[in-house]
Symmetry: C3
Subunit: 208 residues, 3 copies
């Protein structure tokens, strides 16, 4: 990947990365730092901020004001809602505080930086907050305003602060209905799912 | 309405709309898209974003970082607090995901775009989130950080996520006190209110 | 303090204040208004907004999109997380509403502006909201997404909306462990704390 004529950068945006894929559009007042990696056919909305060290797949939608830091990895087809905030430090202090344990902690990223991952096709609703170190599973849907503090299984529908799972969602985004024991079905696209043996997540009956 | 000398657009703002009323001021790093309609004597704070298709009345205060999308209608005299986020899709996915039900949904706005309305004089507190499809009644006050998932009656005071009504507010913003059976009064401006016959909202004793 | 060569202002930022301390860095699309006072060795992240009348100490980290208004005072060494929103009015209405009690209230700042203070070394987590009029004590840690509606004692660890205290934190940010009756200790830097006589906050055994 490299910056080519196929990439649109709004004249009021700031794109310092040379690792942006074809077809990606970066809108006004957004800032993509050097070293941020973005795939093809993404959109990055106004006032979004992508820090050096973040990695974003293909066809990802990053809505306005989302903040994506070093250590955050976002797979293909994810929807990052408006104002979504990632974090990469569970116990932040101002790094220049004159107190040796704080200075020591920030001298070495392995002591404070915790990676976060959002798997393929997931949705992070408006203004939700993702705590450092979690993984949000594929096609999960996090409700607007939620605070995600723990991992979420694939296809989870999660709400609240801290976020907890209240249902399951289809790839298409629709909430799944329990149609018989251990079988969920999407009312929109009819895809069917069953619980895995461990009872922790659902899987499509026909793999995709 | 048209852009005239009576409209102030900060040199660091971006105003592409020609439907902005007299006396309106648009501050730094704000972005008003073509087709966004704004009335007279409004203020649009720094880093706010007003998308094509939103409609805003007169004397509205849009504080910094508010995000107002296509499908959102805001009546006169509303206060949109800092960082308030609207939404216009209840089940968003990244529209370019390679999965036909998603592509079909986003091909037709009637399948995903749900309108939202904020009625005259209401207040939306700092960083609250308004889910697509709700109506917030006149002079309602939504507390900071709330997530509004259902309609709120006029004069409601609502808090939490999901937001629920915990009291009533006066036009002036003060919380109303229950002074006798079925009578609320404002301790600041003495306006009185009674419950309507359906028991769902209060109305001023003297209409305004 | 005055603007000198030791201050970095990103070419896409807007710094109108002449009261910024040495070593402070202001990043892209941030806006520091005239009359905002900032100490030395601070960082102000992208898209942050510092209004006239706010006061910020030394070595403070203001992350991206934080909004700091007139009436907010932030002591040395504080960490203001990404998207943190202060407020300075408990019952806001659009000030230009045509209703005399509202016009009267906004004609005099003593009727609506409530000061807020964040004491030395505290942390305000990502996207938290601080209601007007509260004091957050020294070295307190407010969790991501919390809504602070009441004062927090020094060294409090507070979560939720409304935020409540669920533990205590060390100066270094680590959560303190109760090691014997009325004695808490930091597992990282071994500092010890005891409850004060009133039973309302903890103090370090060796003063700092």
């Amino acid at each position: 990947m490299s910056l080519t004529a196929d990439i649109f950068v709004h004249p009021n945006a700031l794109c310092e990365s040379v690792e942006v894929g074809c077809g990606t559009r970066i809108w006004a007042f957004a800032h993509v730092m050097k070293g941020a990696v973005i795939g093809c056919d993404c959109t990055v909305g106004d006032h979004a901020f992508l820090e050096s060290g973040c990695r974003i797949g293909d066809r990802v939608t990053v809505k306005n004001q989302a903040m994506i830091w070093n250590g955050v990895e976002i797979d293909d087809d994810v929807f990052v809602g408006p104002g979504v905030t990632f974090t990469n430090d569970r116990l932040p202090r101002s790094p220049r505080m004159v107190f040796p344990p704080v200075a020591q902690r920030y001298a070495d990223p392995t002591r404070w930086l915790r990676p976060t991952r959002i798997e393929r096709g997931a949705t992070l609703g408006a203004r939700c907050v993702i705590l450092a170190g979690v993984t949000v599973g594929a096609y999960a849907m996090v409700a607007a305003g939620a605070v995600v503090t723990r991992n979420l299984a694939a296809h989870s529908l999660a709400v609240g602060a801290p976020a907890s799972r209240v249902g399951w969602t289809c790839r298409c985004g629709e909430r799944l209905a329990l149609v018989e024991a251990n079988t969920w079905r999407c009312p929109r696209c009819s895809e069917q799912f069953k619980m895995d043996a461990a009872g922790e997540c659902i899987n499509p009956v026909q793999s995709y």
